[in-house]
C-alpha cells in the first residue's frame, strides 16, 4: 500500500480519535502537534489504526514511533 492511499484513511482515524475534524496529518506530524495526544489517547489511537488497517503493531513499534511518518511506513509494509 502506498502513502497516498494511507494518509486519507489515517487522517479519518485521527479525526475520530481526537474528536477534531480540523486535524490534517502529514508524515512529520508528532504528538506535540495534536493537543490531546497523550499516553492515554495513544493507546486508543494505536487500537483504532490497527482495526482500520487490519494489522497489529509490535510492542517496540508502539513505544518507539517518533512521528506519523514512521507509522505510515509500518502500515505500508503490513496494512490492508
Amino acid at each position: 500500500m502506498n502513502t497516498n492511499e494511507i494518509i486519507p484513511r489515517l487522517n479519518e482515524v485521527f479525526r475520530d480519535v481526537f474528536g477534531d475534524s480540523s486535524i490534517s496529518v502529514t508524515a512529520s506530524t508528532t504528538a506535540d502537534d495534536i493537543e490531546d495526544w497523550d499516553s492515554i489517547e495513544h493507546i486508543n489511537l494505536i487500537g483504532a489504526v490497527e482495526s482500520e488497517f487490519g494489522m497489529r503493531f509490535k510492542m517496540r513499534e508502539v513505544s518507539g514511533m517518533k512521528n506519523v511518518g514512521e507509522m505510515i511506513n509500518i502500515i505500508a509494509e503490513r496494512g490492508k
Binding site: 475520530d16 480519535v17 474528536g19 493507546i43 486508543n44 487500537g47 483504532a48 482495526s51 510492542m59 508502539v62
Partner: protein, 598 residues
C-alpha cells in the same frame, strides 16, 4: 443511541468515543447523576471512558473517581482523603487474575500449603470489601476472575492441587458466596464474559506489557457494557416487558394458514424443538418479574388456538396483554404500555419480520427490538443484552405476572359498577402500613429506584440508605401493602418524612402505578398524619419536583388539601398542611396493624 445498543461494534465505539460522548451530552436527556469510584488493580482509563458512554445512554450521568494505578487495596483498606470526600454512590473494583498474588508456584506444594495460600488470598479481598462497607455503605461491584490463557500443564491445571486455573475457580466460588451473603455486593462475571468472547480474544499480553491493561483493549467495550448493565439495574432502569410476535417467533409456521395442527412446536421436529426451548426460556423470565405480552398480526381466535396447542409451553394466561389484530404493531405496543401503566421504554419487542422491527423502531425509538433470526440468536441476544440484568429479586418479582392478571380481573369487575366508590368497596381492600421492617428493605429500595410516574421527588436510595433510614429517629418511614379479594399487590407505596422540630418535610412519596385510583394514597396520608401527631408534629411540608414522567402527581398535595406555598418556573412546587384539625380521608380501605415478622 443506536451505536451503544447491544450488539455494538466495539472498535467503532473505541474510535469514536469522543464524538459519541459529545453527542450524548448534548441530546437534552434528563439523567440521574451518580458518583462512581473505580478502584483498579490494573489500568482503568479507557474502561471508565467507555463505561461513561453506556451509562449516559442508560440515563445515568456518572462522575468518576479512579484510584491510582493498582491502588485498589490501599484505597479500600487505608482510605484516601480524595476518595472520602468524593463519597461514592457506587464502587467498582476492577481486579482480575493479574491481581491474584498468592497463586501456587510449584507442583511440589502440598494441599495444606495451597489451602493456606487460598485463605491468604481470600483475606486480602475480604479486607477490601469489609473496609469499603464500613467506610461507604454503598453498593459494590466486584469482578470475579477470568481463566488464564496459558496452561503449563494442560487440563491438569484446571483440577490439580497446584493448578492456576483450579485456584482461580476456587476464588470464584468464594466471590459468589460473598455476593450471596452480602447485600449490595454484586459480581461482574468476567469469567463468563471472557469465555463467551473467547480467552484468545480476551487476553492480550502486549496490552499488559505496554499499558498494564489486564485484558485486550479490544474487549473494553464488552467489559464496560457488562458493568453498565449492573449499575443501571441497581438504579431501576431494566426493561420490564417482552412483547412477542407469534408466527415464526413462538412457533414455526403461520397459524392462520397452517392451522393448529400445522404449526411446529413440540418434540416431533427439529424446528418444533427449538421453539419449545424458546418458549421455556421465555416462561422462565416470568419468575424474575419480567412480563410477557403478545403483539401479532393475526385473528385473536387463531392466536388462542396456537397458544392452546397441546405442545405449547406458554399458555394464554402467561401473557399480561395479548394484542392480536391487524393494527400497526407500534400502536398495539403503545396501547399495551398504556393499559399496564408502563413506559414505552420498558418494552423489548421480538419479531421475525425485519420490516415490523424497523417500523416499531421508527415509530417508538424507546422500544428495544430483537430480530428473531433464529431461536439461538434470540436467546443469545436476550442473554447478552442486559435488558433484564438482575441485581435483586424480591418475592414480588416472582409474582408480578399474577398481579397484573389480577388487575385485569379488577378492570372487568369495574365495568359492573356505575358508582366508582361502590366498585372500590366491592374490592374489599385491606392496607397494612408499617415502618421499613427488615423484610421490606429490598422491595422499598427497588420501588424508590424504579417508580417514575407516581413519585413526587424521584429521590433514589440505595439499600444501605434505606437500612439507615429504617432505624433513624429523625424520620418517619412508611411502606404500605395493599391486598384485595383478587390478590395481594405487595408493597406498593413508600413515604419518607424528615422531622424538623414540629414540622415534617416529606422527602419521598411514591406509589406503584398498579394501584392507581384505589385511594391507597389517602390511607398512607392518614397513617402519616397519625404518626406525625404522635411525635408532636403539627405541620407537613410537601415537595413536588417535576420530571419528564411525574406529571400525574403535580397536584397531589393540592388534592390532599395542602396549600400551595411556592411554584417555580420549572414546575417544581412546595406545599404546606396544618394537621391540627386533620380529618381521616380514606373511606374505602380497611387498615390493619402490621404483625411484626421476627
Amino acid at each position: 443511541m443506536k451505536e451503544l445498543v447491544f450488539p455494538f461494534d466495539s472498535a467503532y465505539i473505541m474510535r469514536k468515543k469522543r464524538g459519541l460522548r459529545k453527542e450524548l451530552l448534548s441530546d437534552g436527556s434528563v439523567r440521574i447523576k451518580k458518583k462512581i469510584a473505580v478502584l483498579g488493580g490494573s489500568t482503568t482509563d479507557h474502561i471508565v471512558s467507555v463505561l461513561e458512554l453506556f451509562l449516559l445512554n442508560f440515563g445515568i450521568e456518572p462522575v468518576f473517581y479512579q484510584s491510582e494505578y493498582n491502588k485498589f487495596y490501599e484505597d479500600a483498606v487505608f482510605g484516601n482523603p480524595e476518595l472520602d470526600s468524593f463519597s461514592p454512590d457506587m464502587i467498582f473494583i476492577h481486579t482480575t487474575s493479574r491481581n491474584l498474588t498468592c497463586t501456587p508456584e510449584s507442583p511440589s506444594e502440598t494441599a495444606e500449603s495451597v489451602k493456606s495460600r487460598l485463605n491468604e488470598q481470600k483475606d486480602i479481598f475480604k479486607q477490601v470489601w469489609e473496609s469499603l462497607e464500613k467506610r461507604f455503605h454503598c453498593p459494590v461491584i466486584q469482578n470475579n476472575f477470568e481463566l488464564p490463557l496459558f496452561r503449563r500443564s494442560g487440563s491438569f491445571d484446571g483440577w490439580s492441587t497446584c493448578g492456576q486455573a483450579a485456584f482461580i475457580q476456587r476464588m470464584n466460588v468464594f466471590v459468589s458466596d460473598w455476593a450471596r451473603t452480602h447485600k449490595g455486593f454484586f459480581v461482574n462475571d468476567i469469567n463468563y464474559l471472557s469465555s463467551v468472547l473467547g480467552l484468545t480474544k480476551w487476553h492480550n499480553a502486549d496490552d499488559w506489557y505496554l499499558y498494564k491493561y489486564a485484558m485486550s483493549t479490544e474487549v473494553i467495550p464488552e467489559l464496560a457494557y457488562s458493568i453498565a448493565c449492573i449499575i443501571k439495574s441497581v438504579y431501576g432502569k431494566n426493561k420490564k416487558v417482552i412483547d412477542l410476535d407469534l408466527d415464526n417467533t413462538l412457533w414455526g409456521g403461520v397459524i392462520g394458514d397452517d392451522g393448529q395442527e400445522g404449526i411446529e412446536i413440540g418434540p416431533e421436529t427439529a424446528t418444533g424443538q427449538s421453539f419449545s426451548e424458546f418458549q421455556s426460556f421465555l416462561k422462565g423470565y416470568k419468575d424474575y418479574g419480567v412480563l410477557l405480552a403478545v403483539c401479532s398480526k393475526n385473528e385473536e381466535e387463531n392466536t388462542l388456538l396456537g397458544l392452546k396447542h397441546p405442545s405449547s409451553i406458554l399458555a394464554p394466561d402467561d401473557f399480561v396483554s395479548i394484542k392480536a389484530n391487524w393494527q400497526p404493531k407500534d400502536q398495539n405496543i403503545a396501547e399495551s404500555a398504556d393499559e399496564l401503566s408502563l413506559g414505552i421504554d420498558s418494552f423489548v419487542f421480538i419479531d421475525d419480520n425485519p420490516a415490523e422491527c424497523a417500523i416499531v423502531e421508527g415509530q417508538l425509538p424507546a422500544v428495544q427490538t430483537v430480530p428473531m433470526t433464529s431461536v439461538h440468536d434470540a436467546m443469545y441476544a436476550l442473554s447478552r443484552s442486559g435488558y433484564f440484568e438482575i441485581t435483586s429479586l424480591s418475592a414480588d418479582d416472582m409474582h408480578r405476572s399474577e398481579m397484573y392478571a389480577a388487575n385485569a380481573r379488577r378492570a372487568s369487575q369495574q365495568k359492573q359498577f356505575v358508582n366508582y366508590t361502590d366498585y372500590l368497596l366491592s374490592l374489599d381492600m385491606t392496607a397494612e402500613i408499617s415502618g421499613f421492617e427488615p423484610v421490606y428493605i429490598q422491595r422499598v429500595t427497588q420501588l424508590t429506584n424504579k417508580s417514575n410516574q407516581f413519585n413526587l421527588t424521584t429521590r433514589r436510595y440505595t439499600e444501605n440508605e434505606i437500612q439507615q433510614l429504617s432505624t433513624s429517629s429523625d424520620h418517619i418511614c412508611l411502606c404500605g401493602q395493599l391486598s384485595d379479594k383478587f390478590g395481594d399487590n405487595g408493597i406498593v407505596s413508600v413515604v419518607i418524612g424528615k422531622i424538623k422540630g414540629n414540622e415534617l418535610d416529606i422527602e419521598l412519596w411514591l406509589m406503584s402505578c398498579r394501584v392507581l385510583k384505589r385511594d391507597m394514597e389517602l390511607a398512607m396520608l392518614d397513617e402519616l398524619v397519625k404518626q406525625a401527631k404522635s411525635k408532636n408534629i403539627t405541620e407537613l411540608n410537601g415537595y413536588y419536583y417535576k420530571t419528564a414522567k411525574n406529571n400525574m402527581v403535580s397536584e397531589l398535595y393540592g388534592d390532599f388539601g395542602f396549600t400551595l406555598i411556592k411554584k417555580d418556573e420549572n414546575g417544581d412546587s412546595v406545599w404546606h398542611l396544618d394537621i391540627t384539625d386533620y380529618k381521616q380521608k380514606n373511606k374505602v380501605i380497611k387498615t390493619k396493624e402490621k404483625e411484626l415478622i421476627k
